[in-house]
């Protein structure tokens, strides 16, 4: 049973991630009064990309991308999906926080090796954006960990079963608001889409990726999407005892993100950081203080 979970939970995550990507394109199209591609479109793209013969810029170009995807896959082993969390007793929230670095870092090394300044600019923006949302995000996570007095994400989830969803319980409500405010940035959707800006910097880090590279990058993107949503559901919305309910919750968060994506224009990177470091951070900070004051 454990082995099966170990093997299938990453695959499930990939599947859901890719499904979300397809759904996102469909929903966006419907919002824009278009018919839109089939939901399976990302899968078709990936098959096509894998069959193409692309230019490679060197070993790190390959390894970095592989590392990035592998890192993201490993996170899914630590994140509870419903009750499925095959490796949750090998490390908790801190491990997840750090594993979340491997994805961007691998991507950064890979696209850095491509020797294209567009990629470098994209990476620079990506890291800056990450810096921007990590500040409030860390405050939120610390508030949670302090409030529940644990660093294990499964415990955070199970404790919410007793106390109610963190988002709606008293000391954590501010953190919940802050998390909602930074969620688009963590998912990389529109107001914070400046990293990949295709028109400005030729899709940034992806500029030299073609064929299988782009396929891996797409999968990584899908996984990142999955992880972002799943984290929110687990940390703030009580997770779920049942994978189906968990999936439904994820779907709700996903739609929220897509709607934001559909109606907002893109922010410049400095505007994005300024936004993230102002209200979300202040609220998250207040939330942490609130937790400290009421907790002790």
């Amino acid at each position: 049973m454990h082995i099966i979970e170990l093997i299938f939970s990453p695959l499930l995550a990939l599947l859901i991630g890719v499904f979300f990507l397809g759904l996102a394109r469909k929903v966006m199209a419907r919002i824009q009064w278009r018919y839109g591609p089939p939901v399976t479109q990302p899968l078709i793209d990936i098959i096509r990309l894998l069959s193409q013969k692309s230019a490679s810029h060197g070993v790190a170009f390959n390894i970095g991308l592989v590392m990035s995807l592998a890192g993201s896959l490993v996170i899914t082993l630590f994140l509870p999906f419903g009750k499925i969390a095959p490796m949750s007793n090998s490390g908790g929230m801190l491990v997840i926080l750090y594993l979340m670095l491997i994805g961007p870092l691998g991507m950064a090394i890979s696209s850095g090796e491509s020797a294209n300044p567009n990629a470098s600019i994209g990476i620079s923006r990506k890291l800056l954006l990450a810096m921007g949302y990590e500040l409030p995000f860390l405050l939120v996570v610390l508030a949670l960990m302090t409030a529940y007095n644990t660093t294990s994400i499964t415990e955070i989830v199970s404790l919410q079963r007793d106390t109610g969803w963190s988002m709606f319980t008293f000391p954590l409500v501010l953190s919940g608001i802050a998390y909602l405010l930074i969620l688009p940035a963590m998912l990389g959707v529109r107001p914070f889409e400046v990293v990949n800006a295709p028109q400005e910097i030729s899709s940034g880090p992806l500029v030299e990726y073609g064929g299988p590279y782009l396929a891996l990058a797409t999968l990584q993107h899908a996984l990142a999407f999955f992880i972002g949503i799943s984290l929110f559901v687990n940390l703030m919305w009580g997770g779920a005892a049942n994978p189906v309910i968990f999936f439904l919750k994820m779907l709700v968060v996903f739609f929220l993100g897509i709607f934001v994506n559909a109606v907002f224009p893109r922010l410049r990177i400095d505007q994005a950081i300024r936004y993230l470091w102002r209200w979300p951070s202040l609220i998250a900070f207040a939330g942490l203080i609130l937790v400290c004051v009421t907790g002790s």
Partner: protein, 185 residues
């Protein structure tokens, strides 16, 4: 999706994927580009066929040259084409890439794009409307189905000739040959 389609998907998923996932890099220096925005936005919505514009040739599988090609842009067209990963398809838009069109006597415009890069499909018209673009795309599907969209293979096998043509009109090129040139081996 009918049964026929499904059967095709199982028989050759790669080919089907190529058909329904055309990522396009538009070469937008000609006047044909004015027809592209309607075709990819809500009015005609090319995305329902899996056709979306991408930012760089590396990510693309279809190259649409929208209109006349001047000497200056030819250089970039060749470069862009060579940077696309194989398999790749080229479609030209309008009369000008076919035979020079209204610029047939211009000193500075390419008359026959095929001499410099292989073109899989040409959509005539001045300018072709978006519908014509979709007709062109469906023709391309047929070609892919029949393995006749083999421009990239031709480019590879006849590279010496293409390169010679390119150098004849552009002079020395800044980049090294993509494939080995036969005459020199």
């Amino acid at each position: 999706m009918d049964r026929n389609q499904l059967k095709k998907w199982f028989q050759n998923p790669v080919k089907m994927a190529h058909k329904y996932s055309l990522h396009v890099v538009y070469f937008c220096t000609g006047c044909g580009i004015i027809e592209i925005p309607p075709s990819i936005t809500a009015r005609w919505d090319a995305e329902r066929f899996g056709i979306i514009p991408v930012a760089t040739p590396r990510q693309a599988s279809l190259f649409i040259i929208a209109g006349y090609v001047s000497l200056k842009t030819l250089r970039s067209i060749i470069r862009t084409y060579e940077q696309m990963p194989e398999p790749k398809f080229t479609v030209s838009l309008g009369s000008c890439p076919i035979n020079g069109g209204m610029y047939y006597d211009s000193y500075n415009t390419i008359k026959h794009l095929e001499k410099y890069i292989p073109v899989d499909g040409m959509i005539a018209g001045c300018m072709p409307r978006p519908e014509a673009i979709f007709v062109g795309v469906t023709h391309l599907w047929t070609l892919i189905d029949k393995d006749m969209a083999d421009g990239y293979k031709r480019y590879r096998s006849n590279y010496s000739a293409y390169r010679a043509n390119q150098e004849k009109i552009l002079g020395k090129l800044e980049w090294p040959p993509l494939f080995p040139i036969h005459g020199e081996e």
